[in-house]
Amino acid sequence: MTSHQSPQSNRLGRGSLLWVVTGLTMAVLPVASTLPIWVTLAFLGSGVWRIYNEASGRPLPSGPVRLTLFVIALIGVVLSVGGPLSSDSGVSYLVILTALKFLELRTPRDFVLIASLGYFLLLSGFFFSESLASTVYSLLAVSVLTTGVVRLTMGPPSAIRGGEEIRQTLWMILQAAPIALILFLLFPRMQSLQFQLFRQEKGKTGMNDEVRPGAFSQLAMTREEAFRVEFDEGNIPDFSAMYWRGVVLWEPMDDGFSWRQGVKSTVPQPLPRKGSRTVWQTITLDPHRQRWLFAMDHPIALEGMGEFVAGGILESKNEVRKRIRYRVLSEYGGRFDSQDFGRRMKEPSRVDPGVRALAEEWKSGDAKPDEIVRRGLLFFREGFRYTLEPGDYRSGGLREFLLERRKGFCEHYAAAFASLMRIAGVPAVVVLGYQGGEINRVGRFVTVRQSDAHAWTEVYLGPDRGWVRIDPTTVVAPDRVAFGMDPFAQIGDAASRAERLDRISDAVEPKGLAGFLQHLRYNWDAVSYQWDLAVLSYDGEMQSLVYHFVGLQPNSSAVWIVMLIFLALVLGLMSWLMKQPRRRGRSGTLSVLYRQFCDFLAKRGVNRESWEGPVAFGERAAQRLPSVAEPIRVVARQFAEARYGRDMDGAVQKVEAERTIRAQLRKLRKELARSAG
């Protein structure tokens, strides 16, 4: 009954290696797209090689070889991503270091080190995505890594049942969950910590504070989320009213095909006009590293950190670097005027004669501003084509767009229209923001994605009509505004009307599998929205609410004491539970199996006497039930040997005995069922 296990100094065991290589690979995959391809390949190759090496038992590369590889890899990374450490190049360094660490993964210490690198890799993954899905994925990866470490500590695999490490790790994660929750809720968050080692380019909007439609030959848009909007009492306005105001561009540049924001000024909040429709909305904005706070056109009141600036737009005091929430009251459905606009009349600095002629023509007959606008829109109705791949207009500029190629997307039309209006003497600005979105009926919110980015114009129609939103894109491609950008992004101009209609969130309910999938997606979106609200936006402010709820003063030592008491309680309870002796009746599997065996035979009329040993009982039962004599004898003998035998070598053979008994019991049942049937 002895188990001999010699220590294996250089071998970590294939089980733990497989786990940790898998975990690290999982950690690298989400950031793989940002890495030079050779870094990813080197990482994968090195991991696979290490597993192969462990299996074949060959020695690891010597010190000089590793040093050479290290230098080569380092030079490679410097050449590929640049020397100075930034968030992007940092990940490359991290991955290549992990790959090199595989080559010298020898001692448990190396193992702990490489598992720690996994934590950093996952952390860097969070800079790219904070969604619920990627969080769940990261926690899965970190669980796999943890399983590897647990497996390592379990030692050589001889006496470990398959999956034991998974069971133990899961069990520990379950135990850790309440502790993590306590820490998450109560561990004081540092508000003042603003120092940063390196800045990450997290959350880039497709938006800028200027438009240069001519410079881009195609518009690359992602399905990435920009923000989510929850309307009070769930009254979601019409899709066509959903213009999300972001930036106002005041100044045309060069020939009028490009626009920029120009100078800004802070103005008091505009007041709601009588009779207009208003709606409160709660917006959860993903970080975009700008100060804009988007809101439904046009916002008249704001709750949260931010201010109104000229043009009726909202800005945060600082760059939005993390997900934030704010509440906005918006006025919609009617025309609006806002006294703070100022009349913006400046023409583009150099206007092409052809373009000027066009605008002058609209002005002819002493036309009023609304007539000029109508003529302008009529012009765009004929011969223009909406496309996301118009090619670039670098040399020809506005003239080439308006008079020759006539292809473009919203920014082309907005910039061109606003410039034409200015030339024709009508005050006009370009507005950047988003249009539309996806209505999630499960969560009752609207998801606005980067692909919903849009540009439109506002023109001033005189003191009685004020500023009016004119969206020239609607003239060229009415569906763009009615149904959102996606149909164009995905199926191009040739899309059938029916397919486009399918995209409308409210109008058409897809049937069958598509409907089921959409429903599933809405549900997932709703869950991740709650996740965003509850977890991602949990910060110092929300934490103070929790403190107040449990009656604590923020920033007091009581917070620490309460947290430590909570932790001590949980840990104390846990260790008390672990101390409890094994409950009776749930004894070792072997006895359970034997009891099953006895019960089974009792049902067939062979009762075990209390004094009867397993072998004697088995023999008697075998004679009574000759058709299954063999399995009965095997079970009885195996049990007797496993329980009372002398040469049982610890747990391994016990496990084997259990396996045999289980197999024989199955056979027994099958045999008897057949003879009965």
């Binding site: 188990s3 969070f126 030692g155 820490l183 120092f195 080692l197 993390k322 846990m574 094994r582 747990a651």
Partner: protein, 291 residues
């Protein structure tokens, strides 16, 4: 509960995560940090529970000699409801020749492991406790616990010495063809029981097997009296004398020779067989210099 020095790595990771979380104000980084911290906290409890409350019994096998590694069998019973993993056992005051590791003990079961100690000097060795150590579950924390296990084991003296077995007087006499005296104390055979024979000489074992009663016959030294005497080895040192006597004892037993052992203030009567050899070796093992 002792941290390994590698816990520094984990600590650094935690600090780095905290830094990243605080500077980015990132809830997810905090989540990762607290995930790590809570796992470490749980692992403290688990590492302790993994080694605590084990019932250990140590069985010593037949004694070995002082130049050999003593072997003991250690039975570890896990009374708790959770399995134990990767236990490394040590015996306080002794060095192990091989690591004694138990990979897993299921709840409510016992697993044995052989203990091979490094060679120790002759005599009776007492032990008070076993130390159980494990790095389960996270490698960087070492759970350690003492399991009180009292007991002792005997180590025979080292067999050494170059002197041949002393010639026994009796052997010379036996060669001369003297008939053994019937009243000696060396067993030489059985005869049919006669009424009046001492009951102490009845072969009760045979009776128990169902044979008729027989009387054991004892004669004088069949091969003469061989005395292994301390005083004959005066030119040697103390330990060398012990080793030589131990070696002679074994040689005599191997040769089927009856022998007795004479030490200062101790005499073991002429005898033979395993128990007799054991008595002699034990006497030599525990023999100490006069104070």
């Amino acid at each position: 509960m002792f941290p390994d020095r590698n816990i520094v790595i984990v600590f650094l990771v935690a600090v780095a995560l905290w830094y990243a979380a605080a500077s980015q104000n990132s809830s997810l980084a905090y989540l990762l940090l607290f995930w790590l911290c809570s796992l470490i906290l749980v692992s403290i409890v688990r590492a302790r529970a993994n080694v605590a409350n084990l019932k250990i019994t140590v069985r010593s096998g037949p004694p070995g000699f002082a130049n050999e590694n003593p072997k003991l069998t250690c039975e570890v019973f896990n009374p708790s409801g959770h399995p134990r993993f990767a236990l490394k056992l040590r015996m306080a005051g002794f060095e192990l020749a091989r690591e004694a590791i138990i990979s897993r003990i299921p709840p409510g079961e016992t697993v044995s492991v052989e203990f091979e100690l490094k060679a120790v000097r002759r005599g009776v060795h007492r032990f008070e406790a076993l130390e159980v150590e494990s790095r389960f579950p996270f490698q960087v924390l070492i759970g350690r616990a003492w399991a009180p296990t009292q007991g002792s084991f005997l180590v025979y003296p080292k067999l050494a010495g170059v002197l041949p077995l002393p010639e026994s007087i009796a052997r010379l006499e036996a060669v001369a063809g003297e008939i053994p005296s019937p009243m000696g104390d060396d067993f030489y055979g059985l005869r049919k029981y006669n009424f009046g024979d001492s009951q102490r000489h009845v072969d009760w074992k045979a009776v128990a097997r169902g044979h008729p009663m027989m009387t054991k016959q004892f004669g004088g030294s069949a091969h003469g009296e061989l005395w292994l005497d301390w005083r004959t080895l005066e030119e040697f040192g103390f330990e060398a004398r012990i080793s030589q006597l131990a070696r002679w004892s074994c040689e005599a037993e191997l040769a089927g020779q009856t022998f007795g052992l004479r030490l200062p203030r101790l005499e073991l009567a002429i005898g033979r067989g395993e128990p007799h050899l054991h008595d002699c070796l034990k006497a030599l093992a525990v023999y100490q210099v006069d104070p």
